[in-house]
Subunit: 389 residues, 2 copies
C-alpha cells in the first residue's frame, strides 16, 4: 500500500458569492490543478462534497454538472454528503482509493452556498441545516444547530466549569487569526467584551460565538507518494485518517461533551500515523461554535479534558502558543460553506506544512491535524498530515 500525498490545493475566498455552484467550484478546482501542475485529463477520479444544495438551491446530481463545467466528464465522479463532515469524508475515501491503488491521481473538493445569495434568508437556512438533526426526535422540538451545540457546551460548563469568557476567547483568537487570512469571511481584532455584549443566539452562545453562513469552495489534488515527485508543488503526506460515528440523536449518546466520534477518529488517525497528540504542532478544528472548538481540542488530546476553555483564555491555542488551533481563522472567522469546509481544512494544513501560510504561519510546523465534524457530532473525520521528509 502506497502513501497518499496532497500535491495541489485551491480555495475561493469564503464569503458571499453570486455564481452558480459549478462556477464557484471551478474557482477552487482550477487553482488546485494549477498548483499541482496537473491537467484535467491526468486525473483518474473526482470525489465531490456538497451537503445541502438540494434543499438550498434545488440542485442534486451535482457531480456530473460540475464535471461538465470543468471539462472533465471522462472520469468517475461521486457526491458525498455527511452534513458538515461532507468533504472530509470525500477526502478520506479519495485517500483510501489512492493508497489502495484504485486511482493514481484524484481531485477532491466541495462547494456550498449558504448566504442569502441562494434566495434563502438566515432563518430559512437554519431550518435547512436542521435537516441534519434527528427527524423524529429533534426537528419537531425545534432543535436547530445553535441549540445542539449549546446543549453540548452547557454540559461541558456544568462538568468542568468552562465559562462564557473562555468561549469568547476562542472567538477573539479565531478572528485574530482570520485577520491574517485574506480568504476569510471575517477577520479583525475583536475583544472579549464585544463578544459578551452580543445578542444571545442559544444560551451560552452569543452572535459572535457562532460561525457565519458562507459561500465558497475548496479543492485538493491527491496522488500516491511514488508519483508525488512528478508534480509542480511540494507534496504533503497524509499519514493518518480516522472516521468515527456516534449515535444520533443527542439523547442516545453516552456523553455529550466527550464527542465520542471525534475521540474514536483521533485514535484511529494517530495510530495510523504513529503519532500522539504531543506530536501535533497545530490543528484545524470544527469550530462551528466556540464551544465546539473547546470540545474538539480535548477530544483530539491537545488539552486535558476540562482544559480546553482555560487553554484558549491563556493563549495556549493562539498563534505563538504551544499548539495553535485554527490558524486559518477556523469556521468562526474564515467561514463555513458546509460542503467546502473539510477540504478547506486540508488546504490550510497543506499550506502550513509547506511553510507557505505567510503572516499566519505556525512556526516549525511539521505535523498538523484536521478535525471535521458532521451534524450533532454523529460523524467526525480526523486527518493527520506531515511534512515530507
Amino acid at each position: 500500500m502506497t502513501k497518499a500525498t496532497v500535491v495541489g490545493v485551491g480555495m475561493t475566498k469564503f464569503g458571499v458569492h453570486d455564481q452558480t455552484l459549478p462556477e464557484l467550484f471551478a474557482d477552487a478546482a482550477f487553482p488546485a490543478l494549477d498548483d499541482a501542475g496537473v491537467a484535467q485529463d491526468e486525473l483518474d477520479a473526482f470525489y465531490f462534497g456538497n451537503a445541502m444544495s438540494g434543499l438550498s438551491e434545488n440542485e442534486t446530481h451535482l457531480a456530473p454538472k460540475v464535471a461538465t463545467h470543468l471539462g472533465m466528464t471522462g472520469v468517475p465522479f461521486q457526491r458525498f454528503e455527511d452534513a458538515c463532515a461532507t468533504s472530509a469524508n470525500a477526502f478520506k475515501n479519495a485517500v483510501q482509493a489512492v493508497e489502495a491503488g484504485v486511482h493514481d491521481t484524484v481531485l477532491v473538493g466541495g462547494v456550498e452556498r449558504c448566504t442569502p445569495e441562494t434566495g434563502r434568508d438566515t432563518p430559512e437556512m437554519t431550518r435547512i441545516f436542521a435537516s441534519a438533526s434527528h427527524r423524529q426526535y429533534e426537528q419537531p422540538a425545534g432543535l436547530t444547530f445553535p441549540g445542539v451545540f449549546a446543549l453540548l457546551t452547557k454540559r461541558h460548563m456544568h462538568e468542568y466549569g468552562t465559562t462564557e469568557e473562555q468561549l469568547a476567547e476562542v472567538a477573539v483568537k479565531n478572528h485574530y487569526h482570520g485577520s491574517m487570512n485574506d480568504r476569510a469571511h471575517f477577520g479583525g481584532e475583536k475583544t472579549v467584551e464585544e463578544v459578551l455584549d452580543g445578542p444571545v443566539v442559544a444560551d451560552p452562545f452569543r452572535l459572535m460565538d457562532c460561525c457565519p453562513f458562507s459561500d465558497g469552495a475548496s479543492a485538493v489534488v491527491v496522488t500516491s507518494e511514488d508519483l508525488a515527485g512528478s508534480f509542480d508543488a511540494e507534496g504533503v503526506d497524509v499519514t493518518g485518517n480516522g472516521h468515527g460515528v456516534d449515535a444520533v440523536p443527542l439523547g442516545d449518546k453516552d456523553s455529550l461533551p466527550e464527542t465520542k466520534a471525534a475521540r474514536d477518529a483521533a485514535r484511529e488517525a494517530y495510530d495510523e500515523a504513529g503519532v500522539t497528540a504531543n506530536d501535533v504542532d497545530f490543528a484545524e478544528v470544527h469550530d462551528c461554535f466556540t464551544g465546539a472548538e473547546v470540545l474538539a481540542t480535548e477530544a483530539l488530546g491537545l488539552f486535558e479534558d476540562g482544559e480546553g476553555g482555560p487553554a484558549a483564555a491563556e493563549g495556549r491555542s493562539r498563534l505563538g502558543g504551544e499548539t495553535p488551533v485554527n490558524p486559518s481563522g477556523g469556521l468562526k472567522a474564515k467561514g463555513h460553506p458546509i460542503g467546502a469546509t473539510g477540504t478547506a481544512q486540508i488546504t490550510e494544513l497543506t499550506e502550513q506544512l509547506r511553510g507557505e501560510a505567510g503572516e499566519r504561519q505556525v512556526e516549525d510546523a511539521r505535523t498538523g491535524v484536521a478535525h471535521n465534524l458532521g451534524g450533532d457530532s454523529g460523524t467526525t473525520v480526523v486527518t493527520v498530515m506531515e511534512e515530507r521528509e
Copy 2:
C-alpha cells in the same frame, strides 16, 4: 487484489410505506445480514445511498441516523448521492474497497420514500426529482424527467423508426415479469392496447410508459472471495464494474439516444470481467421509462442500435427469450424508490445467479448485468456478476 463477492441480499416490497427512513432501511438490511449469516459487529463499513430525502423529508446526515437505528455506530458510514444511480455508485465504491483490501465485509444499500406518504404529492415530487436536471438550462424551462426521457426517446424514434407500440411492449413485458415478483409495486397482465390508451404524460410516453414513485429499501453484503466461504449464503462474484459520466445538460451531449455514459460504463465493466455482450444471460436495466429500456439494451450491446424496440416487440427480451431484460419487473413494474434501485438490481442479479428467483428464474443464468442510470444519463454504473465456479 481480491475479487468481491455478494453473500447476502435483502429488500423490502417496493410500494407504499409509512415507516421512517431508518425503519424502512432496517427491513432490507436485517434480512441481508440474516441471508449472509453475519452480525452487525462483523461489518467493517457501510456504503449508503439516498438521493432526495433532504428535499422530500427534510432529512440529511441520514447515514449515522440509520447506523444508530441498526445498532452499528462503530463503523465508518458514508452517504452517496448520484440521482437515480445513487446506490449503484455506493456499491461500486464498496466493491472497490473490498477488492483493494480497505475493508473485508461491508453493508451497502439504499432507501427512499417517494409516495404521498412523504407528505409530497406527485407534482411536488416531480419537481423535487427535477433538481437533478440542469439548474440553469433545464429547470427554468420546466424540464422534468418524463420530458428528459421523452426527448431522448423521440430522437431514437426519429433515427431508428422505433414505435409507440414497441415502447408499450416494454411495459407489457415488465408488468408480466413483475407479476411473478411479490416485492414488485405493480404486476399483472397488461396489453399493448391498455398502454396506448393511457393519458399522455410527455409525448411519446403515456402513463404506463412511466415507472411509479415508490417507497422501499434494498441492501447487500459484500465480502472478499477469500472470506466468502465463511458465510451462510452462496456467494455471487462481482467480476466487472464500470462507471461512465456524460455531459449535463442534454444540450451538451454529442448524441441523445446513444447514452454515452452507459456505453463507456459497459465497455469498462465487460473488459474487467473479460466478457462480451454475447456472454450476458440477462440484464436488469434502468427502465424509468419504456424508452430508457430500449436505449439501455442497445448501449449494453444486448441488441444492435435501433433493434431495442423490435427486440422487445418480438419477445427477445422477455423471460424465455434470448436475453431476458428486467426479469424483476424493472423500475417500471417493481417500482423505483430512487436511492434503493441500484442495490435492488444487485439483489435481483444475486438471486437469479443463485437460481433462487422462483417463477421468474432465468434459465441457465450464469452471467448477469445491472445498468443503473442517474439524471439525464449523466451518470451510469454497469455491474457484471457471475455465478461462482
